[in-house]
């Protein structure tokens, strides 16, 4: 078990800069997920840690010691590849023993270690088979086994589940989580699937275009994304974004939608000038449907999706192109084409400046201190003669 730290790590391929100034600290025994869209440099970062690529500038430390100039085999790491990369002409046993044989361990010691690992992963019966005689899930286990058998200080996983079907993926995910608890090993896990990251990680690193966008615990990223990119990337269905203009920058911030309606967001927007273009973000589970006559915002239902334990409604707000997604309890689904009222609770609203940066959200506690209860102050729609909305003071 070893800590991994990266200090101002850069990697360029020709003229393309794949990794830019990455600083990262992963504690010993931590499960760290690197997530981001394809081409964000997450796999490159993993390969830099593995030593399969050399850093252009910067320093990588494993267990406190710089490893920049150490070959991969001497870094105390093991890697599980997306394609498994099992040696096709060797049996499962030989695949797992191959690395140990290079370290000149005794035949007896190798056999014991391979068998112990095989028991752990329940692949004892497969030891004499060739990779082509295994199913996808079994190959995956062997690939993990080949990593475990070397007793590495750090495990590296490069999208290990992306070749499995959905059911097996979930099952293997649980197994990896259990394995982490059992081995208490440092694990670095690359994925583009934010669900894997949310469920497995102690710490998530969100990358975009080679840069670290945010580092934090899964729920911290979920509730307090540092910017619009992270907000949109973490969470499924994706967070809803509404373009707006800032009307008041003292808490609670007041926003005007293009259609003229006013929204409140429990954020500290004091850094932003009044009148600036902003984006309001809200997750689908926080969009509440109310009776149209009680609501300030109204939308028509375009489509709904039944998912058993919940359903999703896609709503058209005014004449905007983007649909608003609302996550609803079963039985509460409105019919398509139905006019519904929408309430967006200010405590659940995120506010992003034009450059994408998030305004700090008030926590539940200090929000109450400012005198606004976390119970939604429903702003009723009231139009004066000119058609511009008048906001009721929250009661």
């Amino acid at each position: 078990m070893a800590a991994v730290s990266l200090h101002r790590v850069n990697k360029t391929f020709g003229t393309v800069q794949a990794v830019r100034d990455v600083d990262m600290d992963i504690a010993a025994g931590e499960f760290c997920c690197l997530v981001g869209p394809s081409g964000c440099g997450k796999s490159t970062l993993l390969r830099l840690i593995a030593g399969l690529e050399d850093v252009s500038t910067g320093e990588i430390r494993i267990g406190g010691k710089p490893v920049n100039h150490r070959p991969p085999a001497q870094r105390g790491i093991a890697m599980v590849f997306q394609s498994y990369a099992l040696y096709p002409h060797m049996t499962v046993y030989q695949n797992m023993a191959f690395g140990l044989q290079q370290s000149r361990a005794s035949r007896q010691a190798i056999r014991e270690r391979v068998e112990e690992t095989a028991r752990l992963l329940q692949i004892e019966t497969l030891l004499e088979r060739l990779p082509k005689q295994l199913s996808g899930g079994q190959r995956q286990r062997v690939a993990i086994g080949r990593a475990i058998v070397r007793h590495p200080r750090v495990f590296l996983f490069d999208e290990p589940l992306s070749n499995l079907d959905a059911g097996l993926r979930q099952q293997t995910r649980v197994e990896i989580a259990r394995l982490h608890t059992r081995l208490q090993a440092t694990m670095i896990y690359v994925t583009h699937d934010q669900i894997e990251a949310m469920t497995l990680a102690d710490k998530i690193v969100v990358l975009r275009e080679g840069r670290v966008e945010q580092v934090g615990a899964p729920l911290q990223l979920y509730h307090h994304p540092a910017n619009q990119f992270v907000a949109g990337f973490i969470g499924s269905p994706r967070m809803n974004f509404l373009p707006a203009r800032l009307q008041r920058n003292t808490a609670p911030a007041e926003l005007v939608l293009p259609s003229g309606e006013i929204l409140l967001a429990a954020v500290n927007a004091s850094a932003l000038p009044i009148g600036s273009a902003v984006t309001c973000g809200i997750r689908s589970e926080h969009v509440e449907l109310v009776r149209p006559e009680d609501a300030y915002l109204r939308a028509t239902v375009v489509l709904r999706e039944q998912l058993g334990d919940h359903s999703l409604a896609f709503l058209r707000l005014g004449d905007s192109e983007e649909l608003l997604t609302a996550k609803l309890a079963p039985g509460a689904e409105p019919a398509p084409e139905q006019l519904v009222g929408i309430a967006l609770p200010p405590t659940h609203c995120h506010l992003f400046a034009a450059d994408g940066r998030a305004c700090p959200r008030s926590t539940e506690a200090n929000w109450t201190e400012t005198g606004v209860s976390s119970v939604v102050p429903r702003v009723r729609r009231k139009l004066d003669d000119s058609g511009s909305p008048i906001k009721n003071a929250p009661t």
């Binding site: 593995a50 399969l52 070959p71 991969p72 085999a73 001497q74 790491i77 093991a78 890697m79 590849f81 997306q82 394609s83 990369a85 099992l86 040696y87 096709p88 002409h89 191959f98 690395g99 290079q102 370290s103 080949r146 070397r150």
Partner: protein, 277 residues
């Protein structure tokens, strides 16, 4: 409606028959000629009327033909071994190691195989004399590498390029040296390709005539193609067709046998690139 398929099937089989006839007839004629003696040689027969092995016996009595076969086998096997060994290592670096001038090097290797043999003959002759390999089988091995190597290097480079990169990286993480990567990971996966290229190199070396004629002097250093060409009769006006045909049959048989043995491997080797290793 049932006639059309019959007609087309008939046409197909006739075409196959024509091709087989075209390919096999010369060899068949050599076989039946080699079994004839005396004036029968000059009669055109399409069926073997006589079964006389006399030509085969005199072939070995009148010249060191056994020695010639042994020479050919030695040269061809050495050429195959050396060119596979060198080209496997070269293919590893040409396909896996990024270095400046890699494309140029590959191009140069290809260019070498384009020179006609005659063009390099005199230069090669000087080289072999200088190395003291004249009239020596090793000289032939050395000379043959000039046309087997470009071919084997190119084929193996192509095959090695198609092996997944992760395999090599997994091996690097396992702490394996490049030598072990080539011998323990790549070669076992490449062996269908190795068999194919090795066999083609063997055939090239086995059939080569010009270098073998130029770089050898004495009967006991000659390889089979040269020995056959130099078989002479009792007088300068007699061409011993029977012996020549017997010798031709004898040197063709090993190649045919090899191809039949490795036939399935050759197909596997030629299509291996289409499948994932």
């Amino acid at each position: 409606m049932s006639r059309a398929p019959t007609v087309s099937a008939l046409g197909f089989h006739l075409a196959v028959l024509a091709i087989v006839l075209y390919a096999v007839f010369p060899f068949y004629y050599a076989v039946i000629t080699s079994l004839k003696t005396g004036s029968a040689l000059f009669r055109v027969d399409y069926f073997p009327f006589s079964w006389d092995l006399h030509n085969y016996v005199t072939l070995f009595q009148q010249q060191p033909f056994g020695r010639n076969i042994l020479n050919s086998v030695t040269v061809a096997v050495l050429v195959v071994v050396v060119s596979l060994l060198l080209s496997a290592l070269a293919a590893y670096s040409l396909s896996r190691v990024a270095f400046r001038g890699r494309g140029l090097l590959l191009g140069t290797i290809l260019t070498v195989s384009m020179f006609p043999q005659v063009a390099v003959l005199s230069g090669m002759f000087e080289l072999i004399r200088a190395l003291g390999l004249y009239n020596n089988l090793l000289g032939l091995v050395f000379a043959y590498l000039i046309f087997t190597l470009p071919f084997t290097v190119w084929v193996l480079t192509t095959f090695m390029r198609e092996l997944p990169k992760e395999l090599e990286e997994a091996a690097i993480l396992d702490g394996v040296s490049p030598w072990t990567i080539v011998t323990r990971i790549f070669l076992p996966l490449l062996w269908p390709a190795m068999v194919t290229t090795g066999l083609l190199a063997f055939i090239q070396a086995w059939n080569e005539f010009l270098f073998a004629l130029t770089f050898t002097l004495t009967d006991d250093q000659r390889t089979v193609p040269v020995a056959i060409a130099l078989i002479s009769g009792g007088s300068r006006y007699e061409l011993p067709w029977g012996n020549i045909m017997a010798a031709s049959v004898l040197v063709t048989v090993p190649v045919v046998v090899l191809v039949l043995i490795f036939q399935r491997r050759i197909i596997a080797g030629l299509t291996a690139g289409a499948l994932k290793g």
